[in-house]
Symmetry: C2
DNA sequence: TAAAAAAGTGTGTGCGCACACAAATATAAA
DNA sequence: TTTATATTTGTGTGCGCACACACTTTTTTA
């Protein structure tokens, strides 16, 4: 039903008729211990169900874990990238007394050199571990090479680069997220309604990820609605500003008035749904991420579904993975797909209010 | 960007030119301290940004937190009630070194006296806190009265009794969960398809909760589909066994062949969806909770939507709430509605596999 | 003005563990 | 047999804090 009072190394020492020094030796497998006493101590560990007190150990060791994170910059507090940062802050806060400290760095998606510069600053810090959102693939590869040279563990968050030596990838299954978006949009459309996929490329980041999402989306219709004559077109807007997005939408909708549903493969669905409302267009919209803009549009009905990839949780989990690796030498699951939450007007508040 | 090395009480003592004894006195506001030194120490606390090391404090205090949980019994490991138990186990495990220990108790939904017996056993343990799923309202009220007499804090999980002195309620917004179920079921039905609501009463537990869920469900249709001529009937089966459920379903479906959708207000949707598959009925099904039976039926398409109320998370959170109250004297939000996750075939694996 | 009481401050111990070092015992070499 | 050398085992210190207690200085009382 529960454990009795915790047993300490002193308890072990009493049981085995040795001093705590010997206990220490067998626990850490260092120094010399006679075979007989070693056996006896091992018996004590087993019989008394010894588990070292992590608090005491941490206090005694007094070591420090420095974690650096490198994400795209959050332009405003309403930006998507402020959320993973909140997550890592929160995660590290929980391990503060265990000696963990955090330095956050951010790079501009318009400027690869800012990535390089910050990556180099991180290397100068010689951290115990790194949390990286590798949106610039080439520069990220150079960075992790250097990390590996220095034996610094790193985890990817939000975006993945496959077959690397990252401790773990914590983020969405991109293809699956597109597939789910397909199912959701389809569920609110008529069988032959035309669909527009809107991709945006903010800066110079790798757009391969967006393509994977789009493929997942299209896969849904290929596999489930093969024979309908609907059009599914996609446009890629090389910006995320309202003005540019609006211009591209106008251009597209005038030429394609039959469009009934829109899938936005990033966190800017609210820009598009506001455009719809402004022009009294009754289009269905599915997008990603619970940023404030999307929440508002979800609530007033301009967005139908938001898929959330738990960005805060990603940050928290990344920190925890590093901690477990430092302290317990635990090797995590190399790919940890976060749950893809389906958010609608009716359940959005529960997600926002909790904690 | 980050905190410098953590400041200790010794650092404070050096800054304020006093001994750690005086620091201790102002920190805990005990004993006598001259005004001048108190000011100086407070300045030190502020300037050096002192935060006590919880690890050291815990170690020094050496106190013990005994937590008791009282839930309905999980008949098999596949039952719903095994999930909150997993949660509290997990939560307590994380606080083990902080002196927290857990005793779990369970009662039979067929036997109020088992509740009373276990409640009394808990009182004998004189725990620091209690986590309770108050499904027997009358007996729960008697229990919490005694807890209050003894000044033992308690939190409700999964089910709530309003206006009581529980530290917090952690669980679903029942009405909202029914409402969401309504939206989901409606989204896969034609506008005039008839609907069956299936409630089950396993034992002698309070069925008011089920009624709230049903009201939420009906509200959705009242508010959003007012003028359709569809029938929404409900039956309440006084059992959760397959045989009894099947008999009731047969009785109902023969009389109501127009039924196209079923809402199951508990975790037994899989029993009903299996019945449908067995009899080649193409009905849409919405139910609650990611128990293995529902997961399987979701995957093979017999269930369309499952709403999950994060039972494991409820357990973890309840433990955390108690811990924060014990250690930081934090009063939590009195009502913490958990997110209601919408689970479909396409995203169910992410929920199961993560961690 | 001396003794008693109160106010103010510092020191020592222990929580459970890691680690450096000292001590004791056993074995090998001289 | 004695000394040198491994091998084995025990002790002391500190991590940051809480708390008991001892000590010093001031104030009050007789």
């Amino acid at each position: 039903m529960a454990k009795n009072k915790k047993t300490t190394i002193q308890d072990l020492a009493n049981y085995a008729n040795v001093s705590i020094g010997t206990i220490d030796r067998v626990l850490h497998n260092r120094g010399k211990v006679s075979h007989a006493k070693r056996k006896k101590v091992e018996e004590a560990i087993d019989k008394l169900d010894f588990n070292p007190n992590l608090l005491a150990r941490t206090l005694a060791l007094g070591r420090q874990f420095t974690v650096c994170s490198l994400f795209p910059e959050a332009v405003t507090t309403e930006s998507y990238w402020s959320l993973p940062k909140i997550g890592v802050d929160q995660g590290v806060e929980g391990f503060r007394d265990f000696g963990m400290e955090l330095y956050t760095y951010q790079y501009s998606l318009f400027d690869e050199s800012s990535f390089v510069k910050n990556a180099s600053a991180i290397l100068d810090k010689n951290p115990s571990g790194v949390i990286l959102a590798p949106l610039f693939e080439k520069e990220s590869l150079e960075f992790i090479t250097k990390l590996e040279e220095r034996n610094i563990p790193y985890v990817f968050i939000d975006a993945n680069i496959k077959n690397k030596k990252n401790l773990s990838y914590i983020g969405p299954d991109l293809k699956g997220s597109g597939y789910i978006a397909g199912k959701l949009l389809n569920s609110v459309l008529g069988p032959s309604d035309d669909i527009l996929i809107v991709n945006m490329v903010k800066g110079f980041e790798n757009s391969a990820h967006t393509a994977v999402v789009e493929n997942g989306f299209r896969d849904y219709f290929k596999q489930n609605e093969p024979q309908t004559g609907r059009n599914i077109n996609s446009i890629t807007i090389p910006s995320t500003t309202e003005i540019e997005v609006n211009r591209e939408l106008t251009t597209y909708y005038i030429k394609n008035p039959g469009t009934k549903g829109v899938f936005v493969s990033n966190s800017r669905a609210h820009i598009i749904s506001r455009y719809h409302a402004f022009h009294r267009l009754e289009l269905k919209v599915v997008g990603f991420d619970l940023v404030p803009g999307n929440v508002a549009e979800l609530k007033n009905g301009n967005i139908d579904y938001i898929i959330s990839q738990r960005p805060v949780f990603q940050g928290v989990t990344a920190v925890k993975v590093l901690f477990d690796f430092f302290v317990y030498k635990k090797s995590p699951n190399p790919i940890q797909y976060v749950p893809l939450d389906i958010i609608i007007k009716e359940n959005v508040d529960y997600y926002i209010n909790f904690q």
